[in-house]
Symmetry: none
Subunit: 212 residues, 2 copies
DNA sequence: ATGTTAAAAGGGGTTTTTCCTGTTAGTACT
DNA sequence: AGTACTAACAGGAAAAACCCCTTTTAACAT
């Protein structure tokens, strides 16, 4: 019986090589190619006559990262099975990759048995979602619309908070009464679930709302 | 000849297991224990009569991360050899870990040969720095003097400020009087030229002193 | 027309932060 | 022993931040 061909796209050579060893410990699978970024994968898919059965794709990579790669694959090689292997469970990335047609999304902290399960599922059932990814998807559906939608004024306010200014100064710069600013503060505390100005600043930074 | 005992501390089981396989491919080494966070490692070091020859320590981990772990080891187990295995080359982290006595710092994108070299170097020569880490260190020396040199306690303090905590809470967590914390605050305001807690948080983030 | 909602503003209070000016204890250098 | 420096701690007071509750205004939807 022929072995399933797997290619690994990951710039962390240590990981890539270790993973290869692990996979080759499973019967029926062989790693036919290892690449360290999306550009290489696309070149390979373009010229290779017999496509791999599965692509293990990392997200964070130099030259061409997982997102760009997935985007390209979704257009030019929609039949290629991709299992995303990511470091973190960043919601936006999970959503993005699955929308672009990834057959599965697993985190690198998965244990080897589950990993094998994921590979088998993708190849035989066409998909695999880890529990955590499913949870993220569920959460995404549940909140959906009510994502903290901040107004322009609120964003300006956040920016000024991050600039080490007092509320009085902020009021001056925004041509509003300090009392109104206090309202903004209270509102955002509730909306963003924070307890102090520092919480506001941290939220703004984490969500890329301000230029650091 | 007896094999060198290595323990792996990394929450990414897939990586940890793969790495174990790789290491056991080398002669003279054996992975005696795998753990997924610093807390487990410290418990293990505390009760184990024969310490490992080398600890491979990840930085980003749940429960107790690499930095905290290294801090603890530097105080309680200063003779344990630690080789940090990190995802990214964040300068602040590299500096921090080496200051705390890590014998080496390598990135996970190292290739297996270099990895073996690193392990051997740490065990036989007492240290190993990858080229990239050396470059970071060099850069650090060149700017060096004019950078605000913050003490360990000050860094902990900054970290807690960024966690949306009041000074009273910080005092509790650091086992210090609120008045002492107030001293830290005043000191850092002057040193870092900021006017409020938000300024401290922003400085910490801009300079990679805290994990966001 | 009228209820609904959101932004702006204010009154008045508590808590936290910020800013002084000290004291004490330990360490380090000479 | 004397000097210098630092970390830890304190009292007291002003400023800022935080919290609740109410009012005005304007836009808007039914």
């Amino acid at each position: 019986m022929k072995k399933h061909k797997i290619v690994i796209v990951d710039d962390h050579l240590l990981f890539s090589n270790s993973l290869k060893k692990l996979i080759e410990g499973f019967a029926d699978y062989e790693v036919t190619k290892q690449m360290s970024n999306g550009r290489e994968l696309i070149a390979y898919l373009g010229k290779e006559s017999s496509p791999p059965d599965l692509v293990l794709l990392d997200v964070k990579m130099p030259v061409m990262d997982g997102k760009e790669t997935m985007e390209y694959i979704s257009i030019h090689f929609p039949n290629v099975n991709v299992l995303v292997l990511s470091m973190d469970d960043d919601e936006a990335t999970i959503i993005y990759m699955l929308r672009k047609g990834a057959k599965g999304y697993i985190l690198k902290d998965i244990d080897p048995e589950k990993f094998k399960e994921a590979v088998e599922n993708v190849l035989h059932r066409g998909f695999y979602h880890s529990e955590r990814v499913s949870a993220v998807l569920l959460g995404e559906i549940n909140k959906g619309a009510n994502e903290a939608q901040l107004s322009d004024r609120e964003l300006v306010f956040l920016d000024l908070v991050c600039s080490d200014k007092t509320y009085k100064e902020i009021a001056g710069e925004m041509y509003l009464s300090p009392k109104t600013i206090d309202g903004y503060r209270a509102n955002l505390f509730k909306k963003l679930n924070v307890k102090s100005r520092v919480g506001l600043a941290m939220y703004a930074i984490k969500n890329g709302l301000v230029n650091i």
